[in-house]
């Protein structure tokens, strides 16, 4: 039988990164391609202990169907922490637990966008979000960035040129893939533009707690007086990615629609791990644990930057992130990083070419993304050395 797929899925490709992830079964390859948290960052012992406790004392709750919006005490604990620590969540907002941050992104688009509507995105941006928008039949319209994030004048231009624009997707803190962070002043400008045009901002903040240098900058959600920010975050980078537990803070009217969508997708998030996260938040030292993760990533990021400083030809530039998981490297104008990535993988080093993150999937890129959280320190030293050799060779030959 010949299958005819829906318009949205007909041409949708699997995420290049997930595909790279699948192909990385060759243990001789050093991968800077993933976006995985460091295995060192999992509080395995505490989770094992809490888990045994749940089986002993709350097994029926933990194994039975539960409420779509999330385990009530867990939602409250999230709401309290977000409010007290980050000033997030007003009286018209609600919290919903989702099965990883990506589900929040997907649901936000599903409830707001009709096929053909546009989402204005930082260009480049997180491929999991771009694909989620495309899967809804939405158009991803890239807005140019500078070192400080999305450029306000470019956003105004994009809005004027895109009457179908429904929302603005931003990762203001430790952006994926660039690793850079948008300043407070710029955030305020972007918020005012969204407000002026009555556009929803989807603020994706999976890395916000991973700051290891510089000053904390308030989220867009914390300045949301108009109820136009849907805030999406996750426990993936601070407890465990494999458990798929994230959360949304958003205006209650939007959360209600997203809950209907979540019912249709997976009814509710794995309740055992909701209980586990809740217990970790209330019985362990989550903030202390996050400090430990920050120290790991501070060390790893600094190590990679030192290696890059030492090994890379001067013609290649890169960001110096203050947190998160990624460094963004740029080849001189005119080079194609997809080509460079092919050379690198032949020499057993995997990087993600920047084109994977482009809103326009056909556009080339002279940048590539490096991840420092997943590889070991030894792999960082040896992989960047190899990458430097390749780069010198590559720039010479082209």
């Amino acid at each position: 039988m010949n299958y005819t797929f829906s318009d949205a899925f007909q041409n949708l490709k699997p995420s290049a990164i997930r595909e790279i992830f699948k192909s990385l079964t060759d243990p001789s390859i050093i991968s800077f391609a993933a976006g995985n948290p460091s295995p060192e960052s999992f509080p395995t012992e505490e989770l094992a202990k809490l888990s045994a406790d749940i089986f002993a004392n709350a097994s029926t709750t933990a194994l039975q169907y539960s409420i779509t919006e999330g385990y009530p005490a867990f939602r409250e604990a999230i709401a309290k922490r977000q409010r007290e620590k980050f000033g997030i969540g007003g009286e018209n907002d609600a919290v919903m637990v989702v099965s990883g941050g990506n589900q929040g992104i997907d649901l936000c688009c599903r409830v707001l966008c009709n096929p053909g509507d546009a989402v204005l995105c930082e260009n480049p941006s997180f491929i999991g979000a771009l694909n989620a928008f495309r899967a809804c039949g939405a158009k991803t319209v890239g807005v140019p960035m500078d070192e400080d994030g999305m450029i306000p004048a470019e956003l105004e231009k994009a809005i004027a040129a895109t009457p179908t624009a429904k929302m603005i997707y931003l990762i203001p803190t430790f952006q994926n893939p660039r690793g850079s962070t948008t300043s407070l002043g710029r955030r305020k400008e972007l918020y005012e533009i969204a407000k002026k045009h009555s556009l929803i901002i989807l603020e994706d903040n999976p890395y916000g707690e991973l700051r290891f240098a510089g000053e904390e900058i308030p989220t867009l959600k914390s300045m949301d007086t108009e109820g136009l920010v849907v805030y999406c975050s996750s426990f993936s980078k601070i407890l465990s990615a494999g458990m798929r537990v994230g959360f949304i803070v958003a205006p209650n009217a939007i959360i209600q629609k997203m809950a209907v969508g979540k019912q249709c997708e997976d009814v509710h998030t794995n309740i055992f791990f909701q209980l586990l996260c809740y217990k970790y938040m209330t019985e362990c030292d989550l903030d202390g644990h996050i400090e430990k993760i920050r120290a790991i990533y501070r060390r790893k990021c600094n190590l990679m930057l030192e290696c890059l400083d030492r090994e890379m030809p001067k013609a290649i530039t890169y960001t110096r992130p203050e947190g998160g998981l990624f460094i963004w490297c740029t080849l001189p104008e005119g080079y194609d990083s997809a080509d460079f990535a092919k050379f690198a993988v032949a020499k057993k080093v995997a990087v993600v070419p920047g084109s994977a993150f482009n809103c326009d999937t056909e556009a080339p890129s002279n940048s590539f993304r490096l991840n420092y959280s997943t590889p070991t320190d030894e792999q960082i030293v040896s992989g960047i050395k190899t990458l430097g050799e390749i780069a010198r060779e590559y720039l010479k030959n082209e």
Copy 2:
């Protein structure tokens, strides 16, 4: 700010059943409204032991990001069991793990249906599926049933009247909400009609392993020579519903698209519980455990039927299921079960009015659904006694 939602979500209501579930916090209410497995059916001790083992020996795999399609050894174990035990899965088929059966239904519709396309459904049918179709902007077209399931002549009529029909959604075994099972002959007829019109069949079989009487009947997927059946099942009713682990067996071309959709929704299913299910399948006695669950539901169903036989006025009829979780009761013609359900809940007994399961949400129903897996034996006896009193009163007064 005023929010404008997408066309598909604008008028989508939360599942009446999930809403009833939320309101059942009053412990004095006896609920026959849920579709929850019996807490007795969870193999808690074994899961606790295997879980400790995973934390001790495979914690990095269990807490880290994983592959969208599912943990490879788990997929293989599922494929082997389905093939050897049920004759399910040909050489062009693949298995994908999903976050509960509902995600399989949702993804199947997302990859195949454009907004405005139609899904032909048994009427009445599972509300979680109907809402998943609606959330894709698809139309749910109800096809009349008799005691043997969807009526082939009515299906032909519906296909002729619905040029936008894209797939046929069936729960042939222990249907939700009717509890009835479609015969082999009828299954073959329905399959041939789908084949003739090149329509995909989405076969939903969450209850198939819960047979406690009568003879096993082959699934539609096991007779699928043309690659037109997407088969959807789950571990919710045989291990734990709260963990959200289900699976799809479908033509590989469709699975590939569904995997792209799953990437956008939740990246992958909770990997810890995938490992847990895999270990249970390979280190424990799953079939023996299922036998125990069948014995529990045989006893509970028989108890509820005995109570109904004793307490209900003769004018009320009901199905006598050979498995699954539900009994379908029908008031005399002209009565409205939504009205009856209101009377019942006022007397502290909750049932689900049949209208909740109708493809046409405005159509009334004189039937209601009873669940026997969730309540205790004492609650079944006392709840059905109350329901009998209400029914006699209700039929007299109307």
